[in-house]
Symmetry: C2
Subunit: 466 residues, 2 copies
């Protein structure tokens, strides 16, 4: 009653908040109207539906306005993400359709096989090697010994210890228990790493071509993958300048994956170091997926040796030890990030199956098997190169590592998609280039089959293109 | 050039869009200012920091304004969620702290044990039974037979077939392959079910007390769990009226979990049916977590028998077959929802380990073991009831099912937290009531130990409270 007139009471403030909220919604409506008009004009004038430069201006304006108005940038970027999605809908632009994925080809091939077809499976990124005997034995011993319970979300202490020893031996890096988390697959490690560092309205730099999961997870988060295109004619090399130019105000991370799937490229230590410097300069997290690290014919740079200020290593037992069906991987990062990763594991699956963790311990000592797997992969690369050289209408980069070839079709009328279809009719399955980015004339050959089988597959490619 | 002056060109429209966007950000800033003022007044007048009624008004205003302005309600609610989070930050209200979880007690107890302490573990919700022998054998056979590869994201066909037969036998419901997905744990099924039906800015009704994961996942999504409190003095019964009153304009689902963890309550088929009718009336999805379904001393209503228009069943192999450490569960729903669930499995972990799926097939035929597990659990409930009856200062509901007691302390000066601490000093670990909601005077006893061990634990409770 005696309050000074100048100061509003709670009811008045709340009425003002309500009015402000409604005004924001009304402005959204107005924004949609304007977007619809833009859409109509674009259609009439045959302009491209999406325009990155325009989106970039909005981004800059919003971050600047946030700073002026005292609004958290993250909240502003998130609002902008909702506004952009809404105005795209208003313009009738559909969200990016996901291309074919290695997994969708995998499903098709599996169905054909189950229908009785004899197929040479060069699509799936799975080594044909057997898991080390010691892994199987340890797994069985753990099962029989009723190691069939919940465990710590980030992994049993014995596995963490074994992993720390392994990482020290491989990279010289001393990792503590709270900088390391076991995850239910390398894929989950990637998913958790991206989720821990990137929010809705943010963006991340991703090399192209690449494994589709990075893009897929970023879309799921509501973040924008900024694709950095690399080219066969440039030996799939990475330009730090291109990376630097592509950074936007909402960019939080760079995703690296060497040896690369699908190209087999390994970048030089110098390039790797310059990417790390760029990330440090610009405050970005480097997420390095090193799942194929052991499969390399030249020393492959590792994030564990050139550690940026902010980084996450993701890896897995799947490829090195042929343990795809065990679904176990790991992540190395700062305590903060690892706490988040462990929390996601805990929230989504509790932990990795206990007996599988006991099996994984034994993998880390299975050097003989790793050496034999790596050497066999090199022999396959040699043999396939020789065979591909005989096919004039295929152009390819000889892989430095990983377990794939990613050739380009140089024959009139043959797109990657058509080639994949026709090849399937000849009993060979490969993955179309579009699964890895904007590479319609490419396809991926996986080397996860015995050498003779792969060579027979490659010969049929030659026959088809002859 | 000859365009009518009345029609703006793209550049003009874009400038207008930019201005509108900036105005939205400015209004956010203004809203934060107003919220800060409200926060100061609240503090001065000692008013509660959060006010559901105020939030409800905003919710209604926003949905109404969306309809008027032609803005998608989902987008509007999401914007509102960001605005509310921002103004809470401006007022200095921290996001809801998560209480102790069964898993955090589990971690503590595990650390004590690893330090050499002898503990009676009545905290962890894990049966002490062994997995059926046939499951172990099938798992080992699959390992030895190199069933160690990627599989279909929603499960191998043989397991889907076995699950369909099992569900038909248990509930009479005919489920097709695309209405069913194997998941990497029941927890993941819950996570995927909630993610598939609820978006940021939405809300869902959740019973209290309950397993903390529902709340945890909803917070992760950015949705609001609306807790429906049930009470010991009302026999933990569920009021459909209370549910109906709690529904807000952004409510998308009701989460049921019977037999309940931690209370052991099983609701009547009549109540179950009235909840389903309510959900159908109001267009809500019923998510029914039936992981303890087999552990019930009276017929437990199932969503598979009283199917609402929109529903998701989540379940797991963990409790019925003592397979916690296998991490395998499943979800049943419409084709649309199951497609989303399978997509999440595919994106996050590819698939459940192949040999574990082969093991799970055998569980579905292990009726003898299930019967024996269920009967033993009943014997434990009888014996623990008898022992608890001797402790005057504990009040409890005799569980209809599941594998827990959730007693209340009725002794001056004893909170659940203090009790849990003191009991731990006497070598018995249980879970504090706060882990399951606003139940500070309660604690949970898990029956996942041999009967005599549990009874010894309960006797120590009596000694402590004597």
């Amino acid at each position: 009653m005696s309050k000074a007139k100048a100061e509003p009471d709670i009811a008045e403030l709340r009425a003002d908040i309500a009015e402000t909220t409604k005004e924001i919604i009304r402005l959204m409506g107005r924004r949609n109207d304007l977007a619809r008009q833009v859409g109509r004009l674009k259609a009439r004038e045959s302009l491209p539906a999406e325009d990155d430069a325009v989106e970039d201006s909005r981004l800059r304006e919003v971050t600047e306005e946030c700073d002026r108005a005292g609004v958290d940038r993250g909240a502003g970027l998130k609002i902008l993400a909702v506004l952009l999605a809404e105005s795209k809908k208003a313009q009738g632009i559909s969200p990016p359709a996901s291309g074919p994925t290695p997994m969708s080809v995998f499903a098709k091939a599996l169905a054909l096989q189950k229908g009785g077809a004899k197929l040479i499976r060069l699509d799936v990124g799975e080594p044909d090697f057997r898991p080390p005997k010691a892994v199987l034995e340890a797994c069985i011993e753990a099962l029989v010994g009723f190691k069939t319970h919940y465990t710590e979300p980030s992994g049993i202490p014995a596995l963490l210890l074994a992993l720390r020893n392994y990482l020290r031996r491989k990279s010289g890096l001393e990792v503590s228990n709270d900088e390391l988390a076991v995850t239910p697959s390398g894929r989950f490690a990637v998913y958790a790493a991206l989720s821990a560092t990137i929010s809705e309205g943010d963006s991340a730099l991703v090399l192209e071509p690449s494994w589709p999961a990075y893009k897929e997870v970023l879309h799921h988060i509501g973040a924008k993958p900024i694709m950095i295109r690399t080219k066969l004619e440039e030996g799939w090399s990475l330009s730090t300048e291109a990376l630097a130019e592509a950074i936007r105000p909402n960019t939080k991370a760079i995703v690296l994956s060497y040896p690369n799937n699908p190209t087999g490229k390994v970048i030089s230590p110098e390039t790797f170091r310059s990417v790390v410097e760029l990330a440090d300069d610009r405050g970005l997290t480097v997420i390095s997926d090193e799942i194929y690290n052991e499969y390399s014919s030249k020393p492959c740079p590792s994030i564990l040796r050139t550690t940026p200020k902010k980084f996450i290593l993701t890896s897995s037992f799947s490829k090195t030890w042929a343990m795809t069906g065990f679904r176990i991987g790991y992540a190395v990062s700062s305590r903060d990030v690892i706490t988040k990763v462990a929390k996601m594991t805990s929230m989504e699956v509790t932990s990795v199956p206990e007996f599988i963790q006991f099996g994984a311990i034994k993998a880390l000592d299975a050097d003989t098997e790793v050496k034999s797997n790596v050497e066999e992969m090199k022999r396959r690369i040699d043999a396939v190169s020789e065979e591909l050289d005989k096919i004039d209408s295929l152009e390819y980069f000889r892989p430095d590592g990983a377990m794939y070839f990613f050739p380009r079709l140089r024959k009139q009328g043959w797109s990657g998609d058509r080639f994949v279809e026709s090849l399937l009719e000849r009993g060979v399955s490969v993955t179309p280039g579009l699964a890895f980015g904007d590479y319609p004339d490419f396809f991926r050959i996986s080397l996860g089959q015995p050498k003779e089988t792969i060579l027979e597959g490659v010969r049929r490619m030659g026959d088809l293109l002859a």
